[in-house]
Every structure is written in C-alpha cells, then in structure tokens.
Symmetry: C2
Amino acid sequence: MTQPNQKNSHSEIPIACVACHAREGGVCGTLSPSQLAQVVRKTARRRVQPQIEIIGQGDGIEHCAAIVRGVVKLSKMLADGRQQIVGLQFAPDFLGTPFLRECSLSAEAVTNVDLCVFPRALIERLAAEAPDLQRRLHVETLKKLCAARDWMLTLGRKTAKERVANFLYLVATRINFEDGPAREFDLPLSRADIADYLGLTIETVSRQITRLRKEGVIRVENRRRIIVPDIRRLMKNASIDS
Amino acid sequence: MTQPNQKNSHSEIPIACVACHAREGGVCGTLSPSQLAQVVRKTARRRVQPQIEIIGQGDGIEHCAAIVRGVVKLSKMLADGRQQIVGLQFAPDFLGTPFLRECSLSAEAVTNVDLCVFPRALIERLAAEAPDLQRRLHVETLKKLCAARDWMLTLGRKTAKERVANFLYLVATRINFEDGPAREFDLPLSRADIADYLGLTIETVSRQITRLRKEGVIRVENRRRIIVPDIRRLMKNASIDS
DNA sequence: CGAAGATTTGATAACAATCAAGGCTGGTGG
DNA sequence: CCACCAGCCTTGATTGTTATCAAATCTTCG
C-alpha cells in the first residue's frame, strides 16, 4: 500500500487515492483534488479482520467510512438474541449515516476489510459546501433503500429455496465491483450469517443449497466456493423478474 | 381552509402553503418564500381515493409528491402475484425518488389522500441550488432506510403475533403527525393489506388480532378501530426494545 | 331485506424450526 | 506425514407455526 499522506506537486489527486478502488464509483469520486486533499489529511486507513465489529448497535456514530476492499454486514439484534442482517456492503460502498443519529445497527467485517475512515463532522461540512457530494451520498442512500425494499419482498414473500437462490444471485452480482454477475465466486458469509440474512436457520440454508446443487442450478466446489453454470436459471429459482 | 393560490403582498409564503400540514416537518419547510412561490406555480394539488394507484411499478417516474393528508402504501409484486408492502407513508412524507430512476415499486392510496405533486425535474433543480433542500431530502431518505431495516428485522425474525403487535405499534406511532403514540385509532389498512405488510396471510393476521384482544393487549371496537390501553404492553408483545 | 365483500373461525396440510447425530475440513502437534 | 481435534456444515427425525382450504358470520350499502 502507498503511504496515506503523500501528495505530488500541484495539489493533484493525493497518491493514496489515485489507485483507490473506492474512488471511482465511490463517494470520493465527486471530490475535487483540493477537497480530496482536505479529506486525506483527516482520514485513517484501517484494516479489519473478519468478525471484528466496526460500529456497535446504538453507538453515537462519530465516524463514517468508505469500504476499499472486502464485505461488511449490517445487522440488528433483538433482546433475546435473534438477529437479522439488514444489509451487505461491498466495496466501494459508504458506511455510516451522516445527518442522522438515531438508527441503531451494528456493522461487522465478514472478510478482510480495508476502510478509509472519516470523521462524520468533516463529511457533513464538505457535503454542505459541495452539492455534488451531498447528492452523491443521497443517491447512495436511495440505492440502499431500494435494495432494502427488494430484500423485504424476499423476506416477506419468498420460500426458503427462493431466498437462498436470491442470496447467491446477489453475491454473484455484487462481489466483483463493476463487472457483470460472477459465474464462480466464494461466499463471503458462513452458513450462520446466510441464515441471519435470509431469516432462516442454518439447517434450512444447508438443505436448500443441497437442493439447488442436486437440481443442477449450482455446483458447490467446497463450503465457500459456488459455481453458477446458468445465471438465468438461478434467477428463475429466485423468482427474480427481469 | 384558505384558498389555494392567493399570495399576500410582499412575496411572503404562498397562502396555499401557510396552513399546510406538510410544510413544517415536510420537505417544503426548508424552502424560502420565493422558492416556495416557484414551486407552487408548478404544483398540482391532487385528491386521491383509496385503492387508486399513484405510481405504477416500473413507471418512469416524472413526478414527486408531498403527502398532505392520508396514508400511502408502497408495494412490490412478484410475477405470480405474491405481494409485499415495503413501506407505509403518512403525512407529511415525501413520495418519489428524485436522482434515481431504476427502483420499481408501486404507490397506492389506502385512505383518502391529498397530495402536492411536483415535477421531478423541478425538485432536482431546486435541490442542486438549495443545499438545505438536498439535505432535507437526504435525511428523509435515511429515515426511510432505517425504517425499512427495522421492518426487515420484523419480517425475518419475528413471530406472527409479534409482527401484528409491531404493526399496531407502528400505526399508533405514526397516525398522528407529531404527537406521541395514539391510544385509540383507526387502522388505515384492510386485513389483506396488513397481511401483505407483515408477510402473513389474512387468516393469520385475524387470528393474532383475536389473540391480542383475548389477552387484553388491545381492544377492538370494530374492524378498523383499535384501542391500546397500555402502549408498553403492546411494545413488549412486539419485542420492541426501548 | 338482501347481497357482496370483508373478516373470523375451524380443520388440515405444508414448510421450516428444532432437536440430534454424524461427517467433513482445516489447523495443530506429535 | 499423519492423527486428532474443533468448528462448521450436512443430514435425519420430529415438532410447531403458519399456510391453505372451507365455511360461517359480520358489515356495509343499495
């Protein structure tokens, strides 16, 4: 990794950002070189291992972050321990909710994750000055809202088999930043996490993966690795329209 | 009520907006008098009856609206007819997703609804000029995202009884703009819609309402009217924390 | 009053959860 | 290198919750 704080001569794009996966497509993409420089000064790169909590449920969240690499799960828990994953975030998604304090959820790395962490206050100040940034953050939130609502349909109305197929489709689609659906990929989640994402038990998840395998919809190389010979067929099993 | 399109002398707040329920708390609240005047010129008041579709699934959405009065359901449907309500919007919520085109869902009035309808393009233009408006819209979207994720927990991990109690709590909380939870209220939805909101069948919804009634958690005056003697008890039955 | 639609209630069936083993895999140490 | 252990995953048996099917009742409205 390049060192975080270098810049080349004429206040160009900071070197730390030049090759950054999360810049194009990510929120940083809207910033001018001078704004980027400003951000970089207050920014910390952080590497997080799987199962490490990034933000706790109910934290007064003083930081935001861009995911540079890896997958983060967002989850909510009931007092008795029942848990629901309410979002999976892949690079180059933005983490954290500037402008809103009250929404309690916890964020945890599920793979090795690289983050660019910013103070919330800085983002809020920059957003007030830069309409493009504000708008970019807004659009990202709208996309998350759309994804959340799609998932509500999955949770409320789909069968166990459809949910599992839907999950596999989602991972295939999002695991590779900015390519089409992957034909072959590693699941970022354990069976337990998949269950928590789908509102099922691990046993049911396991049985449905077995079923999809026996029906030839997927191949299972090992616990984590999945091959999808025909993405349309997977979509049909997930009751995904288009 | 005052008449809709008059203005008083010095380009003050348009009369149509002065007493508007949706202005304070709503997105219009951030607009200056002159911006409001601009908006009012391009705005249509619209009254919509129950079961009338406001936006169709997959429409290229050219309009947005503020809910002035009433309740709107947002829903998604699968090819085979299974349906899930993914959001209930009460006055003074904002409808529509400026800045994002692709999210397909349908919006339908569930009560008599009064709307202020704006061209999407106007909102986008104003938002680019007025950071406060952009920010206000962003915050509203963040709140909807938070609500959607809360509901994912309900759909994924709660029992039928908890879901119904959760729904009753939600209505009690939101039916009266800006008061505390109502002790007594009319359900805006039919049993069929409640079922579609909760990912259940109408029979199960009915049985759970009966159960909550028999246990004394609620009283049922008639099909629509509910009385909640003890809101804390209802929350406990819904497994809502605080 | 009668009819249509909405809601409730009852009986049964299906799907997923739970309880309980058993098997695989990856890591560790002999 | 192999054996063993722990954790994760799969499979099997059974139970329980909710869906489905069916009918009765209640409401509303002409």
